[in-house]
Symmetry: C2
Subunit: 783 residues, 2 copies
């Protein structure tokens, strides 16, 4: 189980058994609630103590200038960062004449638990004030998955052993001070000082409202709150507001064993376009709707929504409780990040914290969307529509870079490039491959022709044009894409990155298919037969660097000729390498931060023979240090594919522990969504062996020794399937939809609805797994 004594993981819940202030910021991330539109970090109700306060609205960002010193042409001049908007969570409590603060007095009991089936965060606290007044505080918090503007808190305080006067100040607070970031960690968030300009404030009894505007980006943000109070007679409710705080104060005198209960409903609205008056109305309307539904109604909607999700998405397993918990925890947070993001980006941390400035990277398309495509396809579609909506900026960026087609940004909120370091930003053109590939995957798996026609063909055409502009036909007859950066951030600006080239090859072929399938749309885009043929020629001639002497593919041209990294001289404190070594030293050495060539073995698996995959995996394992949270899950999938099942299981364990064990030491800044997605990928694509081959779902499940059963659900081709694997056999069940042909270890198998089909899993010849760099092997996963 999770090693930190504060946490405890059940099959359907994450529990915090005691309050450890050392892990408070991590808890705030783990217990964050959200729906993709609105995110509340898991701060204590009373606001203090806290790690990093955080309330976010997807897309609400502030601009900040980038330094121009020694800038180059095309460097972005301005970046964006997610704004901590109005905090609506706060309910400050005074017990008799003292503030309720768990650092003072005596904390008899503290427990919080996140219920993954109900989508509720519960808290229960038993506390005696320094002056001896004892209260029990219980709260339940939700961010609604059904009414996207809404969050609510049911808050209850009970006097335990004597008559106690309690005062609750339920607040909306803007411009909270934030802790200073670590200037030496490039991953650390950059906090803004007072990003919100006050526009309007109002309070009327229990109804509160604040309206602010971000200073540079000029986005209006409205927050409204309403309160339903039930308590003893004589309980008073007063409202008041100033520029940055609106407050509803409830005072009650509680006899021993009596309770005060407050249901606080909070609604948000924001826009960069609409007026203050319309936003104020929007927030008030959402609040009215939420209060009409009521606490009980919101909780019931939430449960129904999640029941439907788990029926589509659940992964069950036997043999490891921690992994069982982790995959559900991960799916829950992916849903929270994406469910209602709609036409806003899904950031690398979702809305769980300020890390990476709230930016969306390729992680979303390459790691998160594969999961959503099979489990919550409408959320995947919305995310792809967001990308498509930013196409104008990507076209403009490509033009600025003297390219053709679309160049999507390495990191962004609004669609513009926000990367200040181009060798690991702009040059990482593979983000475009991920976008195109996600669009192809989504369209193929869902059969959503409307999306393909309205967005897919356009995305694919522009990405294909980008590759044509980036690459060139060399004297050797091959098509080369030079000077780009692949997924491995310990190499950069290299020629013919194999992952990038193979993904570009797939993009070009998909684009060629798409323009043939949608000729009218293609014509409107000016994509003619000559262009289509040029794409196919480039794809066919794509350079794939291979070192014949070693018999392995090169991560990029010349990579295997580079000096080996001196692992012997790198102690355990030397990781992550990027915080201890300059980039130039990493770039010129054979050391890999994260799966790059190995990611190609997964995503372009049909481009390699099984023997090549095994050899390549064996070559890259001993030089891959996994200083990125994106790596372990990919290594798990490929290890499973090439037959190193125990190693795959260890990597799965590492992915599962990423945030629960804070392996990257920055869970405080938010959860690693891609790693959470990785748990699903390792189980479903790894041990579950799910692939798409020739338009079919193909399965090749095989369990590691530690698992006795794995069952998962996928939604594809408008059907729902359940796949269950035991050590010896696999059972395929079509839960809904018409007959479907699939593949089991390459053999066709036709499924009829409701009729389980059982197939034997072929035996595996055990082989010796490759070693990792000294000290960098994944922890042996003990189930």
């Amino acid at each position: 189980m999770i090693s930190h004594p504060a946490y405890d993981a059940g099959r359907w819940q994450l529990v915090e058994n005691r309050l450890d202030l050392g892990v408070l910021p991590q808890s705030e991330s783990l217990f964050a609630l959200g729906n993709g539109h609105l995110g509340w970090r898991g701060t204590l109700d009373e606001g203090e103590p806290h790690g990093i306060p955080g309330s976010y609205l997807g897309g609400v960002h502030e601009e900040l200038p980038l330094p121009v010193r020694e800038s180059g042409y095309g460097d972005p001049e301005c970046a964006e960062t997610l704004v901590n908007v109005v905090n609506g969570k706060l309910l400050r409590l005074f017990v008799d004449d003292e503030p309720f603060d768990v650092r003072l007095g005596t904390l008899h009991h503290h427990r919080r638990w996140l219920d993954l089936r109900r989508g509720l965060l519960h808290r229960s606290t038993d506390w005696t004030s320094p002056a001896g007044s004892r209260v029990v505080v219980r709260s339940t918090r939700l961010v609604s998955l059904t009414q996207r503007a809404l969050a609510a808190v049911a808050y209850e305080v009970e006097a335990v052993h004597r008559e106690t006067q309690v005062a609750v100040q339920s607040e909306l607070v803007a411009n909270e001070p934030l802790p200073a970031p670590d200037p030496h960690d490039p991953r650390a968030p950059q906090h803004l000082d007072r990003p919100l300009e006050p526009v309007e404030h109002a309070a009327d009894g229990g109804r509160l409202r604040l309206l602010h505007r971000t200073r540079r980006s000029g986005l209006l943000v409205a927050a409204a709150a309403g309160h339903r109070v039930s308590g003893p007679k004589g309980c008073s409710v007063h409202g008041g507001a100033e520029e940055d705080v609106a407050r509803c104060t409830v005072v009650a005198r509680l006899g021993s064993g009596r309770r005060l209960r407050i249901v606080k409903t909070v609604a948000y609205a924001w826009s960069g376009m609409r007026s203050a008056a319309s936003l104020r109305d929007e927030a008030e309307a959402a609040l009215a709707a939420g209060q009409h539904t009521g606490w009980q109604g919101l909780a019931e909607e939430q449960r129904r929504y999640l029941d439907a999700f788990w029926a589509r998405a659940d992964v069950e397993l036997e043999g490891d409780e921690e992994i069982q918990h982790a995959v559900r925890f991960g799916l829950f947070h992916l849903l929270q990040a994406a469910a209602r993001a709609e036409e806003q980006p899904i950031g690398a941390k979702g809305l769980t914290g300020p890390g990476y400035g709230g930016h969306c990277f390729w992680d979303t398309e390459a790691f998160v969307l594969p999961v959503l495509t099979y489990t919550a396809p409408e959320a995947a579609a919305a995310s792809l529509r967001w990308r498509h909506r930013t196409l104008d900026r990507a076209l403009e960026r490509a033009k600025q870079l003297q390219l053709r087609g679309a160049a999507f940004p390495w990191r962004t909120i609004s669609g513009r490039e926000c990367s200040a370091y181009w060798p690991a930003g702009t040059a990482a053109f593979h983000v475009n491959a991920a976008v195109a590939d996600a669009a192809v995957r989504y369209a193929q798996v869902t059969g959503d022709a409307g999306f393909e026609r309205a967005a897919g063909v356009e995305l694919l055409t522009h990405v294909a044009r980008l590759w044509m502009a980036l690459g060139h036909h060399g004297r050797d007859g091959a098509f080369h894409i030079d000077g780009v950066t692949g997924p491995d951030e310990y190499s950069a600006v290299a020629d013919d990155n194999t992952y990038t080239n193979l993904m570009a090859q797939a993009n070009l072929r998909a684009a060629a298919l798409a323009v043939r399938r949608y000729p009218a749309e293609a014509a409107a885009l000016g994509a003619d037969e000559a262009e289509r043929r040029a794409w196919l020629t480039a794809a066919d001639r794509m350079a794939v660097p291979y070192n014949a002497e070693l018999g392995v593919h090169e991560q990029s041209a010349g990579f295997t000729r580079h000096a080996p990294w001196d692992f012997a001289a790198t102690g355990p404190d030397g990781y992550p390498l990027m915080l201890h070594h300059p980039y130039f030293d990493l770039y010129r050495s054979q050391v890999v931060k994260q799966a790059d060539l190995v990611l190609a073995l997964f995503l372009r698996d049909s481009a390699f023979t099984p023997q090549q995959k095994a050899r390549d995996f064996a070559y890259y394992e001993p030089i891959t240090v996994r200083d990125s949270s994106l790596s372990a899950c990919v290594q798990s999938v490929v290890a499973a594919d090439v037959g190193h099942l125990d190693l795959a299981f260890d990597y799965l364990g590492e992915s599962a522990e990423m945030d629960l064990e804070d392996l990257q030491h920055n869970t405080r800044d938010g959860l690693h969504l891609a790693a959470l997605a990785g748990v699903w990928l390792a189980l479903v694509a790894g041990f579950g062996g799910l692939r798409r081959h020739g338009g079919h779902l193909a399965f090749a499940p095989r369990l590691p020794a530690s698992l006795t059963r794995l069952a998962y659900h996928v939604t594809a081709f408008q059907r729902r399937l359940r796949i269950e694997a035991t050590p010896r056999e696999a059972t395929y069940t079509l839960l809904s939809g018409p007959r479907l042909e699939i593949r089991h270890y390459g053999h066709p198998l036709t499924l009829e609805r409701g009729v389980p089909r059982v197939r034997a899993i072929p035996p595996l010849r055990p082989r010796h797994p490759p070693a990792q760099p000294p000290g960098r092997a994944p922890r042996r996963k003990e189930p």
Copy 2:
């Protein structure tokens, strides 16, 4: 002649015939005076109008923070920038009740001329005020080459046609406002806002003093001024001082034809170590010494100093007056930048302007020191001693970068790395090659064993260790230096840059020789026989990328495989490319900013056969755009070497015009010292054919059609030589020192003092010169 009508170049002077406010900032650079310790830009005496005010003391810098956003390990956190210190040039004139300002009233005549033989800047102005008072102002300014702390101005005002009251305010001014730089040009200087904190100010009649401290770097700067006034009776002198200004006001009533003459002597002192009291005394003492010498005495000392210099250094030629002027203008400014720099850096712009922050780059060792070594060896030695003095910082930097040996900074004032963009900064390790090579050249040419023992062997050992740490022995048996940046800034972070590798090879061999020659020093450095052998092995196995198919050397591994640059799509407004194209696009294309492989053909000429040189030059010419001022001169030298004499002459012309024609559009920010040195290099190493081969001076002179005679002087092996070439023959004369063996076209020739030896120049088979990129051919030089 120079195309701008304001300028006129004589054989020994640069003349400004009329005042064109459009080229005022350029004039300030061209007419800058300095001695390497102190630099005064050629601002008008009265301070306004001005382009960029500038008074500099070599080494007086301020620190400024570098952005940390997305920084990497080892990025410098702080940069340095040359400070505009106290302006001592100012003499503001009031004529009757109006300020003398050439933009008002009527300017009848304006002339300034820089006398290269005397080291004086003269000015003569005839002006009528708006109210009709006419005055002639004459001034002569010098920055002393013999008393390094001193500058002086002899200022004279004459009433022309009626009695006129004149007031002269002679000032010391600190914290002058500076114009805002262009944020889009990375070469533009970054100005500081009020970098000087006042410490002390004083005035006593004609004696003025200001003492300031730089805010962050904490350097104390003292300036003192004294005045000798001669004028009509009743002329009054008053002094006054405030924090940032000290002023001596002289008022006189001049009858028609009468003059007021003021000799202002200004002395500076600075230190980061010593006290305010001692600095105050130092400035006062320097001032007293200067006043004791007197104006006439200073001017005479200056003349004697320059006579000696020109006797050692002059280059005479027949056939092109403009080149004749340019080479003297260049030598004069090199001397001004270096003569008394002593243990401070020689910046890329000397002390002529704020460009590049006043930083010293590899230009100094690779371009400036070769000239100084043969013409002002004591200045070359001082500059190398400055580098050696920064060795501790270079050792520390190497350690920080996890390397061994010394890693000298790409750009610096105090010795610390100030480059904010590592791919074109830290990764350009070839700066270390330039340092080592300059030390070897200096020691070999001067025979200065004291330097070699005290500094040379240590520099060489640490640079050799750096190469050993940077490189590795590959599976192919070769020694590779991967992921570094060569001179061409349109490529970066490439493997086996040929220039770098060949220079490293030479460094390693020189280091091996040095430790054998100085065994005690080597032992103290821990350099044993095993290490020495390792250096020689690495040197012998050094990788030199060669494309056998094309029969040319590669600038770096894989370079010739890259896509060609689309020159057809690049219009004349598209240059310099770096201001119109992102680096990634330049880096992955076959386009060269500045001589890189071609520089290796010059500096490592014996590593190539004549045929290889010709082929390589022919390959790189059509892809070299010369967006750097460092390129034309190198191309000139190599063009001459491979027999394209007219092309070499055109490139010489471009080097000569760099600042006089403002070819880079930034002469306003200071002169391009390396290009000025390049004129000498193109004449002496190019047409003069000077090389060092096997410890001998080797000559292979050959003139282009436009020149009928070229004569130059070099100082080497404690001897002075004169080499004179005509189209058919070369004459070698040993002017001082004992018998010397040289080479003429490879044949030994022994010179006895005072006995000219004449040798025929072998005929050249004419061949067709290579083309340059469209629109990028050097302007045809019309003599």
